[in-house]
């Protein structure tokens, strides 16, 4: 099955993609409205928590972190898929990434923006959040650079800004297309401004290629560092269940995993909503699905490694935490995580499911659920069953405030993403053209060598 038809006319590509920028259908408005409503819920919760105190989120003095941190990790993780597709696959010249990397990158950016909010929401005195910024001040005070939380802040800032830049640079040629195709109006002005007068001259293309490559090279180690830093929030501490060597790779794997799952979800949605069957083809879907399956197995392995190493060690405290995860208060969620994360992906191993949209949609959602549970199961059980028995708490169940924020964060993400899809082309037109072009060249070569009977008909 082909990733894409070689004979799509370039002009048609422009039309099809640009159609996605035209006036939205009713469904779009419905989704948008729902998203806004969800955000509303979160805002309400935050106002309540801000004015009353962190207490309303129902944590306690030994159980100081909750869903905020867990969901924070979840969103950070989700952001890694974009980098995977656009950077890693780019370096590997896997050109099937081309039709889908744009929205993946957008996903990266927006999930980072969502994650960032949780840092703020989590703070007891969010109004003092600027204390954590390294800026010269008359008090001669600086944040504590030894704190993994600060590394987080730094890493996330770097990652966010870099991926925004990456997204933008990669979009310049398309913005030029939009500029040329759009009728007068604010959009035209916007695109004219953003496309920086791009005309696709040889000089521009030359530098463009090199730049894009360099940033890609930077983004890969960056992405890895970001999630291993998030991992060190836990691994650097002394708490049982956190102080584990394999955490950084484990987190990175988990990140790629949830990212890929999310890509499948959005792939399917976009394909349906914007009628992108021509570009987001089954062939590509199949490839992502296989990739996801592979990563899910990596994740499963690292999970096993973590348990094994804990079990093998003499650290009784860590063992107890592990046991508590399996049989304690959090057991249902922990087993849920194991099921969603390691069992559900097995369906992806079957050919007939690899292209079955409804199944894939359900599975991808389950995988994401599993990954969210994973993050929660990293944070909570250690507090419930730490080193110091006297402080073991009585099963802190997150209050509606915490749930509300988590709920709202999905709305926030959707909101950003929907707006993006209407303002910017969510499929990279020029790269799809390249893809089509190269495929055509290949078939030509094959014909020349007489291997192929069929001739891909040229567009002109």
């Amino acid at each position: 099955m082909k990733d894409i038809r070689e004979d799509i006319a370039w002009a048609k590509i422009n039309q099809d993609v640009l159609k996605s920028l035209e006036n939205p259908r009713k469904l779009y408005w419905v989704i948008l409205f729902v998203a806004i409503a969800m955000v509303g819920v979160a805002v309400g919760c935050e106002i309540y928590q801000y004015s009353t105190g962190m207490g309303v989120s129902n944590k306690n003095n030994s159980h100081v972190w909750g869903l905020y941190i867990a969901t924070f990790i979840f969103w950070i993780g989700m952001s890694h898929s974009g980098t995977l597709l656009s950077a890693i696959l780019h370096l590997m010249h896997a050109d099937w990434r081309k039709p889908i990397y744009r929205f993946a990158e957008a996903m990266t950016t927006f999930s980072l923006m969502t994650a960032g909010l949780f840092v703020a929401v989590h703070l007891g005195r969010v109004w003092q959040i600027y204390y954590a910024l390294p800026y010269p001040n008359e008090r001669g005070l600086w944040p504590n650079f030894q704190s993994p939380l600060l590394w987080d802040a730094m890493a996330i800032f770097t990652y966010l800004s870099s991926s925004i830049v990456f997204l933008y640079v990669g979009m310049i040629p398309d913005l030029a297309i939009c500029r040329d195709r759009m009728h007068e109006g604010w959009r035209k002005k916007l695109y004219t401004l953003l496309s920086l007068g791009w005309e696709g001259t040889d000089r521009q293309w030359r530098n463009f290629r090199v730049t894009y490559l360099t940033i890609a090279c930077f983004l890969i180690p960056l992405a890895v560092s970001v999630h291993s830093i998030v991992a060190s929030d836990f691994a650097m501490s002394q708490q049982p269940g956190w102080h584990i060597t394999s955490f950084p790779p484990y987190f990175v794997a988990g990140a790629l995993y949830s990212g890929c799952a999310a890509i499948i979800t959005l792939f399917i949605i976009l394909r349906y909503v914007f009628r992108f069957e021509e570009y987001m083809t089954m062939g590509i879907l199949k490839k992502i699905v296989r990739l996801t399956f592979a990563i899910s197995m990596v994740w499963t392995y690292l999970n096993a490694v973590e348990f094994a190493s804990v079990w093998y060690s003499h650290d009784q405290a860590s063992k107890d935490v592990l046991i508590q995860k399996a049989i304690g208060t959090y057991a249902p969620f922990w087993w849920g995580m194991m099921f969603c994360g390691s069992v559900v992906p097995l369906t992806l191993a079957f050919k007939r499911f690899q292209t079955n949209i409804p199944v894939l949609f359900a599975v991808s959602l389950l995988l994401n659920l599993g990954m969210w549970l994973e993050r929660w199961m990293i944070v909570a059980p250690t507090f419930a069953h730490g080193i110091y028995p006297w402080a073991w708490d009585h099963d802190q169940w997150p209050s509606f405030v915490q749930w509300g924020m988590v709920f709202g964060s999905f709305g926030w993400f959707t909101l950003l993403f929907m707006v993006f899809c209407k303002v910017f082309p969510s499929v990279s037109m020029y790269e799809v053209k390249e893809m089509v072009y190269h495929r055509r060249q290949e078939t030509k070569k094959l014909e020349a060598t007489g291997k192929f009977a069929t001739a891909g008909k040229g567009a002109h």
Binding site: A317, D320, Y388, P389, W390, A391, W392, H394
Partner: protein, 732 residues
């Protein structure tokens, strides 16, 4: 470079705090900004006000009757914290949590501020003049017999004034009622030693065998005993003292014992005799009396294994002097006096009398020594009320409606009294029944003298002096009130005393010589006295009559099982709430019970084994029913209790008193049966038998203890070591 940095920081800190002082005065009614307080110029401040500096004044703690001397920190005319006065032989600069909370009694938002006169079921504010006039009017043509004065333990000049006031009517009905006073033990001691409260030298003893005397927690003079306990543990030349605690429900003292012996409730006396028997040192009629108490029988009746009895006897023989104490758990039975007698007998047999049990010094002013009393007094008052004998009833520092055993129906009888006057700090359960309620100063605003019942070395009189101006303009000291009332009766005698302070000063100066002020001029003597806060006296000691008598010593066999009410109810004394008069002090409510760490509530302690039988788990709401009544509260599984007994702490379950007390927990006093000690007629607190039923509800017990249930897991947290492996003599 670093040092300079550090100096700067220290400096900043200090600045910081004075800043804080201002900042925090912003979060209260003292804020100058909201104009609730007039700005005072410190140019001509009163000499005791040094802005930003805490000054300390000596006074006395009135939270319980132990009579600790305190040292109050005062700043900008506000008392901030109470610390112990090192000069006092009783507490030597130390304090207990209850005493610390004195400031919260003083600053309590629920304190009474105005005299209240009953108007229907509401109280309306009246002036003091009106109140006094009203009292005078009500007393007109009322004979002495028709007046009753109920009070808690009073001593010092207050007692003198009170006496004089009652005498002015020829009234003999002064009922002194302290719900938790060791009435039976006093009587037993009087018999055995010739003194109600001899001095116990715990610190001199090598072994302390305590029958339910919670001397560390809440018994007689805990702070003093705790200090002795510390010395006792250090021991002489590293020979650490051994504490054996015999009681059905583990008290704080039991929790600190080397051996805690869960004896079957009520058989303490039998065990004591059994030990005498096992000692085999007794002669004559004592030997004859204990002959029957061989190990087999004693062990069978008390549930203490024979080996245990041997061990106790052995160590008592080996290590002398020892000390045997009889406390709450031993006296709270119909045969309480017998128990106590048997236990005291043990002291005689061991020859402790004169060594660890010594004669206490007494103040040479008999009229000032504390008036004691227990439920027997309340009972006779109750009978009187039931018979409608009393036209006027005064009530001071007692809350019988809350603390009287339910079986007495005190509240109903109280309504039969004609005119009820309550002198109170809070609108407590009893004050609510009164017709006239007069608001009192807190102990930190008041003048007074105090004579502790339990005297440490030598005798002493404690001075109470105000640590600050009246918090509320319309409260009065009890002394002032009595004086005012006396002036109604005997204007001539008292006209020279403009207020209680004047009276007190005059009275003290009268006895200047006796009080050790010989040769000093009045002012310097008086100032010295106030500065010290204590007057130490040689005191008079009457030697103990060391006669060991077994006459009339009969111990009943343990009560056989009562099918209907299978369990023994032990109303335990919580170290900070005691009889509940201080339940409205939030620090006490939130300081966890040491053994269960439960806060803000009541609970039923049940042994896990028994609980398993009854199918009860922690947090089950159970109904505890006695012949008198029933209460519902949460269950707590507690290994430190005899399986045939359950225990509910006293002090909670207020229906009034204030925001921090009302509606928290239940009041076990309500379900106590009217069983009294045969000899003294005091309440037999431990004789109430109950049954326990599940109600089906379950709650999460609010406690500090974690889900781990007070077990050490993995890491060594609280270390312990066998006495063989330590050498205390080497320690600093």
């Amino acid at each position: 470079m670093m040092d300079s940095g550090f100096d700067r920081r220290d400096f900043l800190k200090v600045m910081g705090w004075s800043g804080a002082a201002v900042a925090l005065s912003g979060c209260g009614n003292t804020s100058i900004e909201d104009g609730k307080e007039t700005v005072v110029s410190y140019v001509e401040a009163a000499d005791y006000v040094i802005p930003g500096i805490g000054v300390y004044y000596n006074s006395s703690c009135a939270q319980c009757d132990a009579g600790c001397s305190i040292n109050g920190r005062v700043r900008e005319g506000r008392v901030l914290k109470l610390e112990g006065n090192p000069a006092s032989a009783i507490n030597r600069g130390k304090m207990c949590g209850l005493g610390q909370a004195g400031v919260q009694h003083h600053y309590n938002p629920d304190r009474l501020r105005e005299p209240l006169l009953r108007n229907g079921d509401k109280g309306e504010t009246i002036t003091w003049e009106k109140a006094y006039a009203l009292i005078a009017e009500k007393l007109k043509g009322v004979s002495g017999e028709e007046i009753a004065f109920l009070s808690g333990g009073v001593s010092g000049h207050l007692k003198v004034l009170l006496g004089n006031y009652l005498a002015s009517f020829g009234c003999k009905n002064h009922f002194v009622y302290e719900a938790l006073a060791p009435g039976v033990v006093r009587a037993a001691n009087k018999k055995a030693y010739g003194a109600e409260m001899p001095r116990y030298n715990i610190n001199k003893a090598k072994v302390v065998l305590s029958f339910g005397a919670d001397f560390i927690g809440a018994w007689v003079s805990p702070v003093h005993f705790s200090q002795q306990y510390a010395q006792f543990r250090k021991g002489v030349d590293g020979q650490r003292g051994v504490l054996i605690q015999v009681e059905p429900k583990m008290t704080l003292t039991g929790a600190n014992a080397d051996r805690w012996i869960p004896v079957r409730p009520g058989t303490e006396g039998i065990l004591a005799l059994g030990i005498i028997n096992a000692l085999g040192t007794a002669t004559g009629d004592i030997a004859a009396a204990v002959k029957g108490y061989d190990k087999a029988r004693v062990s069978k009746e008390t549930g203490v294994p024979p080996g245990q009895i041997d061990k106790i006897a052995a160590i008592l023989k080996l290590r002398s002097p020892s000390l045997v104490l009889a406390g709450g758990a031993a006296e709270g039975y119909a045969h309480g006096s017998q128990n106590a007698a048997a236990i005291n007998l043990l002291n005689h047999v061991l020859g402790n009398v004169g060594k660890t049990v010594e004669a206490a010094a007494a103040v040479p002013f008999p009229q000032m020594v504390p008036a004691k009393g227990n439920t027997a007094a309340l009972k006779s008052l109750n009978d009187g009320l039931a018979a409608g004998k009393y036209k006027v009833l005064f009530n001071y520092a007692a809350n019988p409606v809350f603390t009287a055993p339910g079986a007495l129906k005190f509240k109903d009888n109280l309504s039969k009294a004609g005119f009820k006057v309550a002198f109170a700090h809070y609108l407590d359960e009893t004050a609510l029944q009164a017709d006239l309620v007069l608001p009192l100063n807190s102990a930190l605003e008041d003048w007074g003298t105090q004579v502790p019942e339990y005297m440490a070395e030598g005798a002493q009189i404690n001075i109470l002096q105000p640590l600050m101006e009246n918090l509320h303009p319309n409260t009065r000291g009890m002394g002032d009130i009595l004086l005012a009332l006396l002036k109604q009766r005997r204007p001539e005698e008292y006209k020279n005393y403009e207020d209680y302070y004047a009276y007190l000063r005059a009275a003290m100066l009268q006895n200047k010589v006796a009080l050790g002020g010989n040769g000093k001029d009045d002012d310097s003597f008086w100032n010295e006295t106030l500065t010290k806060g204590i007057i130490k006296l040689a005191g008079t000691t009457t030697a103990l009559s060391g006669k060991a008598g077994v006459a009339g010593l009969k111990l009943p066999a343990p009560t056989e099982n009562d099918e209907q009410y299978p369990l023994q109810l032990i109303p335990s004394v919580n170290i900070s709430l005691r009889d509940g008069r201080h339940s409205n002090q939030p620090w006490l409510q939130e300081s966890p019970d040491p053994l269960t760490t439960i806060v803000w509530d009541s609970w039923v302690e049940i042994h896990p084994k028994k609980a398993a039988e009854l199918g009860i788990v922690e947090g089950d709401i159970v109904e505890v029913t006695s012949r008198t009544g029933s209460i519902k509260t949460q269950a707590y599984l507690f290994p430190g209790i005899h399986p045939d007994a359950i225990s509910i702490p006293l002090g909670q379950g207020h229906e009034a008193l204030g925001r921090y007390a009302k509606g928290y927990g239940v009041n076990p006093f309500q379900i106590l049966d009217a069983v009294f000690d045969r000899e003294t007629g005091e309440l037999a607190m431990y004789e109430t038998r109950v049954k326990v039923n599940k109600t089906g509800q379950r709650v999460i017990v609010v406690k500090d203890e974690s889900a781990a249930g007070a077990k050490q897991i993995r890491e060594k947290i609280a270390g312990r070591v066998s006495s063989d492996n330590v050498d205390l003599s080497k320690e600093v």
